[in-house]
């Protein structure tokens, strides 16, 4: 199994009483809540944490894209990836954006990713996402075009990487006389492509297609949902005539490793609860704008998310559902081994900083994870 530390770079100094006045930490929360002096420190702290993950021997580090919110401060993730490309030496750098349907010109991503891939000497992992529903409110992009634009932008970018230019591109949304991307990607034919998703049959069937075999990442979902989507990927692969490897599926999940179970729970509790209840807070209409999912998927997700978004989350509830893994190194090892055996993912994306979790706790948890958890899984899956 391989380990990629994912960071959201939240605005950890958020005034958590904001929800007395506003119903979300996204889109409509005034940016007067952001203090640039505190924010500047946070950015540098978070970059330090990802650089430290490289030193600790993680296989990779992941940045992420979200817009107009306190949950994650990386609207332009390529800025962080560019900084990390110079300061890290071994780790793969996964950009788990870019939200392709938000773009007027997807060739900017072909260029940006190719630059990072060159500077890092071929360490880039290219993420393609649709963004969460809130992004469509923040950017005014039409959610009803989300799937179609995603596929067209993806096709354009992959062709820009793999075909010698210049060539014309004639799409519904994007049209170019000259596609001729400079620089070409360092990795040939192109960097590995990962598809993070909150779970949709359409995405899974598309990602698992034999012509793509993209790594599918399930993000922040209960373990039962994780198991279902991973099984769906494997079934889709079988139907399409091949057997998927564990390497093709991954799981992104918040994890905290403490000295003992009791200390871990006590240390993580306020921060993981703030993550779910404050930073992820948004009305359903913001999360699921019309067209973001097919009508059929929308019906299913409305039921599932309704349950997930309803009420205040507690650390115990999150642990029970498998939405959070927390405890001593021994406990975390056991939980992971159990999930890995049941579900069979080959990539794990531990989110070792979340919400308001301060630097010293983050660093200690990262060290325990790297030294006492990762080694147990080398050679597994």
């Amino acid at each position: 199994m391989k380990f990629f530390m994912i960071h959201l770079m939240p605005y950890a100094d958020l005034d958590l009483t904001y929800d007395q006045k506003y119903d979300s930490a996204w889109v409509t929360l005034p940016n007067s809540y952001y203090d640039p002096v505190k924010g500047a420190k946070l950015y540098n702290r978070y970059l330090d944490e990802l650089e430290y993950a490289d030193e600790l021997g993680f296989d990779g580090i992941c940045v992420n894209e979200h817009h107009q919110n306190a949950y994650g401060l990386m609207p332009i993730p390529g800025v962080m990836a560019g900084a990390l490309a110079r300061r890290t030496k071994q780790a793969k750098i996964a950009v788990l954006g870019r939200a392709l349907p938000l773009l007027n010109n997807p060739l900017t991503v072909a260029e940006e990713y190719a630059m990072i891939d060159n500077i890092s000497g071929g360490r880039l992992i290219a993420g393609f996402v649709r963004g969460i529903g809130a992004e469509y409110h923040a950017w005014g992009a039409n959610p009803a075009e989300s799937h179609d634009r995603f596929h067209e932008a993806h096709d354009l970018i992959v062709r820009a990487w793999t075909e010698i230019g210049p060539f014309p591109f004639e799409g519904k949304y994007y049209n170019f006389q000259y596609v001729n991307t400079w620089p070409r990607t360092f990795q040939q034919p192109h960097p590995p492509i990962w598809i993070p998703s909150q779970g949709s049959r359409e995405t899974i069937e598309w990602a698992s297609h034999p012509s793509r075999k993209y790594t599918y990442l399930q993000t922040f979902s209960p373990a039962t949902a994780l198991a279902r989507y991973m099984a769906m990927y494997k079934e889709a692969a079988e139907k399409q005539g091949y057997t998927a490897t564990a390497d093709q599926v991954g799981w992104a999940v918040p994890i905290y490793v403490g000295e003992t179970d009791a200390r871990a729970d006590a240390e993580a509790k306020p921060h993981i609860e703030a993550f779910m209840n404050k930073f992820l807070r948004m009305p359903q209409e913001m999360l699921l704008p019309p067209g973001y999912l097919s009508l059929q998927s929308m019906k299913g997700v409305l039921k599932a998310k309704g349950a997930m978004m309803a009420g205040a989350h507690t650390i115990d509830g999150l642990l029970d559902k498998g939405m959070f893994i927390c405890g001593s190194a021994e406990t975390v090892r056991q939980r992971l081994a159990q999930y890995q055996k049941q579900i069979g993912f080959g990539k794990l994306l531990p989110m070792l900083q979340f919400a308001t979790l301060p630097h010293d706790l983050t660093k200690a948890s990262m060290e325990r994870f790297a030294k006492k958890v990762i080694p147990a899984f080398r050679g597994v899956a």
């Binding site: 409110h137 039409n142 959610p143 009803a144 704008p289 067209g291 009508l295 929308m298």
Partner: protein
């Protein structure tokens, strides 16, 4: 719904659900974003003097969603085909909200078969500084409450039982609404330039308590459509035909009677 015919027609390759009742000159009603799942009291009143035709737009309700549906302009051309296929002549075209936008787009293309045009709180243009409400961030309950000036109206609607089919149609209607109006938000930047082409008598209706589209849009439409008249309904929200039905039917009927045959 006695006497109301419900039929499926095929127009421009799209199966479209149509309700129709009454005798008299044809009156084509184009619904707004909420669709037209039911035959409403104002339709029944109008059917006493008109041949009232209420389609569900392609993409909405029981109608199909055709491959060609991308913009409101597509629906404007669709309804020009619809009018021709049903061999309607001297149609009184009435559109509410998004349906008003379709009607206006249709009329700038051709008024050949129209006798008159009535726009009820239409969208389709932008008045700078007069922000439309962000309906896509409202829950169904918030939307329902904001549609009416009289809170009692929303209460009654919110208490009605909802079938699974109606739930599904709400999702379907919201999807079509987003497809057609998300960006630019509920308007076509090029429509205002051509509204002067509308050469049939035009009535514009607006509720003075419209919380979706600010009443400032009423005078803007009136000034852009030559010879048009603006009727403001007092203590009335976004749907005067539903909330102030009696007055609306009277106003519309008088307006149509004033149209030279």
């Amino acid at each position: 719904m006695a006497g109301v015919q419900e039929i499926m027609l095929r127009v421009a390759g799209c199966g479209v659900s149509v309700k129709r009742a009454g005798k008299g000159p044809p009156l084509l009603f184009l619904h707004g974003g909420g669709g037209a799942p039911r035959w409403l009291p104002f339709m029944a009143r109008l059917a006493e003097r008109f041949d009232v035709i209420v389609p569900e737009h392609p993409g909405f309700g029981r109608s199909e969603t055709p491959e060609w549906l991308d913009t409101i302009g597509d629906l404007a051309f669709f309804y020009l085909d619809f009018i021709r296929q049903l061999e309607l002549e001297r149609v009184h075209l009435v559109g509410s909200s998004m349906g008003g936008w379709i009607a206006a787009e249709l009329a700038v293309r051709s008024t050949h078969d129209l006798a008159s045009l009535a726009l009820i709180a239409p969208v389709g243009i932008r008045v700078k500084g007069a922000q439309k409400a962000d309906i896509f961030l409202w829950s169904h309950e918030q939307l329902t409450r904001n549609l009416f000036a009289d809170p009692g109206f929303a209460e009654v609607i919110l208490k009605m039982p909802v079938t699974e089919e109606e739930q599904d149609q709400r999702l379907k209607n919201a999807l079509a609404m987003a497809k057609l109006g998300w960006q630019p938000r509920l308007y076509n930047p090029h429509l205002a330039k051509w509204l002067h082409r509308i050469a049939v008598p035009t009535l514009i209706c607006w509720g003075d308590s419209d919380r979706l589209i600010p009443p400032a849009y009423g005078p803007a439409f009136r000034d852009l459509i030559p010879g048009s008249r603006l009727q403001v309904f007092e203590r009335c929200g976004h749907l005067p035909h539903a909330e102030c039905g009696e007055k609306f039917v009277r106003t519309l009927t008088q307006f149509i009677e004033g149209v030279r045959p």
